[in-house]
Symmetry: C2
Subunit: 261 residues, 2 copies
């Protein structure tokens, strides 16, 4: 079959998941950087590939695959390379339980904060008429609403407070569960760790008061081990914003000798 093509934005959040999975598997893929802040995902040439206008999308032969978590299972099943799913049905269930928790609960809350403090401010000062046109051509109403809120900064205080509450609850769940087993699904690194990492990689910087060596030692240990994987460093090379540079700060914060000075 033809070389797979991955349309992706920065190597974090939803785009990070298939990038890391493909690199972990050793798959030779074509990377097509799709600039979320430039609204590339709503341009006609992208909508011809994915009419929903969401990123990432994996094109493999005739198959056009959306939804990054479900894409991860496809990548693991369709390509050779080290397995990214545990063997036992129970650990696979736990891997998918995390998928549900991360995509349905933790991710949307973290994402609302990210859209409020980063995505919105990044585009807000552009020509108002151009922004209006950009919003109008977003195909999914849910995404149109999210962009409108981000651009015009209309997330309510209550919404943002509830999102922060959920993020901090998620951090407590991570910390507790990582005290029971070394990786999210069980004894081995899996798609659950990739998904969690893509959301949690910057927490020691963004939520420094709550995520640090003293308060969340299990989470910090796990982050340190995932950061050490060669596939993670290689995935950062596909970034074009200061996102990847920020990970250097994170790694300093969680380095084992970081508190000895």
């Amino acid at each position: 079959m033809a070389r797979p093509i991955l349309y992706h934005w920065e190597p974090n959040a939803n785009s990070g998941k298939p990038i890391i999975a493909l690199i972990e598997k050793g798959v030779d893929f074509e990377s097509r950087y799709t600039d979320l802040l430039g609204f590339d995902q709503h341009k006609p040439e992208y909508l011809a590939v994915n009419p929903a206008g969401t990123i990432p999308v994996l094109v493999h032969g005739d198959a056009v695959l959306a939804e990054s978590t479900e894409m991860g299972e496809y990548i693991d099943a369709a390509f050779d390379g080290p397995p990214l799913r545990p063997d036992s049905p129970e650990e696979r269930w736990r891997m998918r339980w995390w998928g549900k928790f991360l995509d349905g609960y933790f991710g949307p809350s973290l994402s609302m904060i990210g859209w409020s403090v980063f995505v919105g401010p990044s585009v807000r000062n552009r020509d108002p008429e151009e922004l209006r046109r950009n919003i109008e051509r977003i195909p999914l109403k849910e995404r149109r609403d999210a962009w409108t809120k981000a651009i015009y900064n209309t997330f309510s205080k209550e919404e943002l407070a509830e999102s922060l509450r959920r993020v901090l609850h998620g951090v407590r769940v991570f910390e507790e569960e990582l005290g029971k087993r070394p990786y999210f699904a069980g004894t081995t690194y899996s798609l659950a760790d990739i998904n969690a990492f893509c959301m949690a990689y910057a927490l020691p910087l963004m939520q420094a008061e709550h995520v640090n060596k003293e308060k969340t030692p299990n989470l910090v240990d796990w982050l340190r081990r995932v950061y050490a994987r060669p596939a993670i460093a290689r995935s950062f090379e596909l970034g074009r914003t200061p996102m990847a540079a920020r990970t250097i700060e994170v790694r300093k914060l969680i380095a084992e000798d970081g508190s000895d000075d």
Copy 2:
């Protein structure tokens, strides 16, 4: 391993998924009916099994499994019997794409309407002090908030209108995709059909104007084929409310000769 135990409510929505999957696989399991409207799921004896207080839960040996969609994959992998997942990675991806769409988009919207027109009114007239105590002991804040809204009828008009919009959008997606292939994931009946059926089984009755032989022939054909499966009829036997009786009305509405009178 010991005989699995399934804690479940009525054989629809989230509880219906593992009931149908276990029956389809021919698994001998112990059914423990857990009365959602009696708040059984928040009683100490249930919280000892599942501290989150959500239904359904499958107990299999030492494993205690929550989240009905993810539980379905476990059931298919852990027990013998006819496969409930397609073979190809692409069709499995599509099965999981539907899981995301049904659980993350369609289901919560349909559920809000169900809670507003059925669950809330079913419990609202009980002793206010008892209701208050029942709400207080719900472990998850999100579930506490949902019950509070259902009991005191505080879903806003906007919320309900948006939910209806999403449900009808979902119906259009079902109809379109079922025009491309006979089952949700592809050529064979799978967990995606079980999940969709558990949410869509009553649409010809509840949304008669939008789901009928004329407007959604593909969806109605598919419903008729799924209703004809022996496992579906057997799953209804585990119900204790008028839910199962209502399915007789639905079957009349979708019967092939139903419009010939």
